[in-house]
Amino acid sequence: MPINYYIFLSIALFCIGIVGVLTRRNAIIIFMCIELMLNAVNLLLVAFSKMHHLNAAVSGNVTAGTDGQLFVFFIMVVAAAEVSVGLAIIVMMYRNIHSVDVNFLNRLKH
């Protein structure tokens, strides 16, 4: 499959994520949208990694392109950590203001 398909899918996912973050007020949905953007990037990384690997394998370089996939693991680890911290924050937020609407989080303004 040409790389273009992966790129367009990834862009689509990323844009959905951005629009979601910008428009939604529910913290959990925003959170999910962020994950969506991260995964769009992951997808792209994996796709390019595969492409480079195939191209390089012809010339006998078997390890080429693997670092892209390494990054994906990094991102997944970070995302997992983020989820745990982020969800904890959201829980605390709900306990305090009985809502997960981010527009209530404007107390720093004053």
């Binding site: 951005i18 973050v21 910008l22 007020r25 527009n103 989080l105 404007n106 107390r107 720093l108 303004k109």
Partner: protein, 642 residues
């Protein structure tokens, strides 16, 4: 080179030691001891000065170089003394008259507390020290040290009774007006340094004689020096401090504000005579200013009623005379008049002190009168002083004044004008002096009974200086008997010839002659003497019969108020300056300078308050901002950047 004259440093050093002893020990020494130290040191200086005078009689000049005062790069200013004919004459006047006044003061100031008595003598000694530095210095910087030093002492002594605010203000005024002149003097020194690279008299004069100064340079330098002299020697426009300076004790007025310090300007110009001779423009200015001052002060003196104020204006007027002499190139006459004036004006001031002492502090001549019956010696000596200053033949003032007038007459082309105004001033002088004398000593006593009861002749410490000065006022003129009366009798002229030799050469080269026909001179002298005698007799008669005790009216009021010059200065200088100061302090500094500074601070505050609005607290808006900026960055990076 070792020379016996090297010990001339003792002349100023002794009064300085006296100052230190009296100043530091004023609480511990007795009055007698203070008086002895104060007078003794000056007497010792006088004796050395006499010896020095003998040494330089042969016409030699000696420069005693002690140490490098300032030595930077090419400029070297030694701490050196120059002993020649001119300085030795001034040394004699300063230490001689100074000694008499010290003796006089031991009695006059006796009622002061010991502490203040000591302070007084310390100041007097310091003054003598500074004055000696002034005349002995071998370069303009040492002269300037003495120049400011005498100004300081004058300040300290005018404000001697420091509890009186008015006296302190007079002291401040004297110092500040002198400083205006001093600034001009300083700039002249800088100018000389910058052109001649040196301030030693010998080098500067040689430089000038070699015609190495341009005409502009020399004119500017001499005018600046002259402005310096107008401050110290109380000439227009800086004369108003001198009458106010009468706030000081009377012996101080005699020593500083009549006999010595105020003649410093004359000394300075006589010392720099070469420079002045090379600059005819300046000489004319000096003559005009001198004459104008002489006339102005004489008119004011006619309507003053304070015995010391009359003498003060008379001093200003006589100083104007001396400047007239300088301006007409008769340097010898100026120095001559300095000398005779020192005698008779010190005598008059000390006499007035004796009167004030007897009157219990009263200085208004309208409340005196008939004192001749109570104070024989004071009366006689005061009369001699008045006769001398009026220019009665045979007394010292006659000779010096006559020489000045003859010098003015010889000036071309306006000599006759100068002469007439000069003579008019002399007549005014005779008039107000005899108005003063007659009102004070003749007629009937007009003071209170209490005062009359206490009237007495002063003690010996006061009368002896009076007698000595009276004798000097009579015989002092015979060192300068004019050529037309007795050939070769002007010993002062011969004595001073080496000092002015350069100027005579210059005058000769310019074709200027100060010679007047002997017959013309006889006529001039005859006319002036006759007129003066008439005025003297008129004033004596008028004021011993009916003293003018009423307040002046009409034009007299203008004169009594000193032509309102003080008020004018107050209006055009003091008040605008204070106003400007207040404006700068209250308005400009606070609103403009500080305003800009605080404005910058306020701007920062304001803009941060505005920028804070961007922080809406809406998470969504932050993200939007982030996305938009990233997009813009991409657009810029990929499409716009070349």
């Amino acid at each position: 080179m070792k020379n016996v004259l090297n010990i001339v440093y003792l002349i100023p050093l002794l009064p300085l030691i006296g100052f230190l002893i009296n100043g530091l020990g004023r609480k511990h020494l007795s009055k007698g001891l203070i008086g002895i130290i104060g007078s003794g040191t000056v007497l010792a200086s006088f004796l050395i000065s006499v010896w020095v005078f003998m040494q330089v009689k042969g016409g030699n000049t000696y420069v005693a170089d002690y140490f490098n005062f300032i030595n930077v790069g090419a400029l070297s200013i030694p701490f050196a003394f120059q002993i020649d004919q001119l300085s030795s004459i001034f040394l004699l006047i300063i230490t001689g008259v100074g000694f008499l006044i010290h003796v006089y003061s031991t009695s006059y100031m006796h009622e002061e507390k010991t502490e203040h008595f000591g302070r007084y003598f310390a100041y007097l000694n310091l003054f003598v020290f500074s004055m000696l530095l002034l005349v002995m210095g071998a370069n303009y910087v040492i002269m300037f040290i003495g120049w400011e030093g005498v100004g300081l002492c004058s300040y300290l002594l005018i404000g001697y009774w420091f509890k009186n605010t008015e006296y302190n203000k007079a002291a401040n005024k004297a110092f500040i007006m002198n400083r205006i002149g001093d600034l001009a003097f300083l700039i002249a020194i800088f100018w000389i340094i910058s052109k001649a690279g040196n301030v030693n008299y010998g080098d500067v004069f040689a430089f000038a004689q070699g015609n190495k100064f341009t005409a502009t340079d020399i004119t500017t330098i001499t005018i600046l020096l002259f402005i310096g002299a107008t401050g110290k020697s109380a000439q227009i426009p800086l004369y108003t401090w001198l009458p106010d300076a009468m706030a000081g004790p009377t012996p101080v007025s005699a020593l500083i504000h009549a006999a010595t310090m105020v003649t410093a300007g004359i000394y300075m110009i006589a010392r720099s005579n070469i420079l002045y001779s090379l600059s005819p423009v300046t000489l004319n200015i000096i003559a005009i200013v001198g004459l104008a001052t002489a006339l102005l002060a004489a008119t004011i003196a006619m309507k003053q009623n304070d015995i010391k104020k009359v003498l003060a204006y008379s001093t200003v007027s006589q100083l104007g005379y001396m400047f007239l002499a300088l301006g007409t190139g008769s340097y010898v006459a100026a120095v001559f008049h300095v000398m005779t004036h020192a005698f008779f004006k010190a005598l008059l001031f000390l006499g007035s002190g004796s009167v004030i002492h007897a009157m219990g502090g009263q200085q208004d001549i309208r409340k005196m009168g008939g004192l001749n019956k109570y104070m024989k010696i004071t009366n006689a000596t005061f009369l001699i002083g008045c006769l001398a200053i009026a220019g009665i033949p045979g007394l010292s003032g006659f000779f010096s004044k006559d020489e000045i007038l003859a010098g003015a007459f010889s000036q071309k082309p306006f000599g006759i004008v100068l002469y007439i105004i000069g003579l008019g001033t002399a007549l005014l002088t005779a008039f107000y002096m005899f108005r003063l004398y007659a009102t004070t000593f003749r007629g009937n006593f007009r003071g209170t009974h209490d005062q009359e009861h206490h009237l007495h002749e002063s003690p010996a410490a006061i009368t002896i200086p009076l007698i000595v000065l009276a004798i000097l006022s009579i015989i002092g003129g015979y060192v300068g008997v004019p050529e037309f009366i007795l050939h070769g009798a002007h010993s002062l002229k011969d004595f001073l010839a080496p000092v002015f030799a350069g100027s005579y050469q210059v005058f000769e080269a310019q074709g200027i002659s100060h010679e007047v026909d002997h017959s013309t001179e006889w006529i001039l002298t005859g006319v002036s003497t006759a007129l003066i005698l008439i005025v003297v007799v008129f004033a004596w008669n008028k004021f011993s019969k009916k003293p003018d005790t009423e307040d002046a009216a009409g034009f007299g009021k203008v004169l009594a108020n000193k032509w309102y010059v003080d008020e004018l200065y107050e209006k055009i200088i003091v008040r605008p300056m204070n106003g400007l100061g207040t404006f700068l302090n209250n308005v400009f500094e606070k609103s403009v300078v500080d305003g800009i500074v605080n404005g910058v601070g306020r701007l920062v505050n304001y803009s941060s308050r505005q920028l804070r609005l961007l922080q809406s607290g809406q998470v969504g808006s932050y993200v939007l901002l982030m996305v938009v900026s990233m997009l813009l960055f991409f657009v810029f990076q990929f499409f716009l950047r070349k």
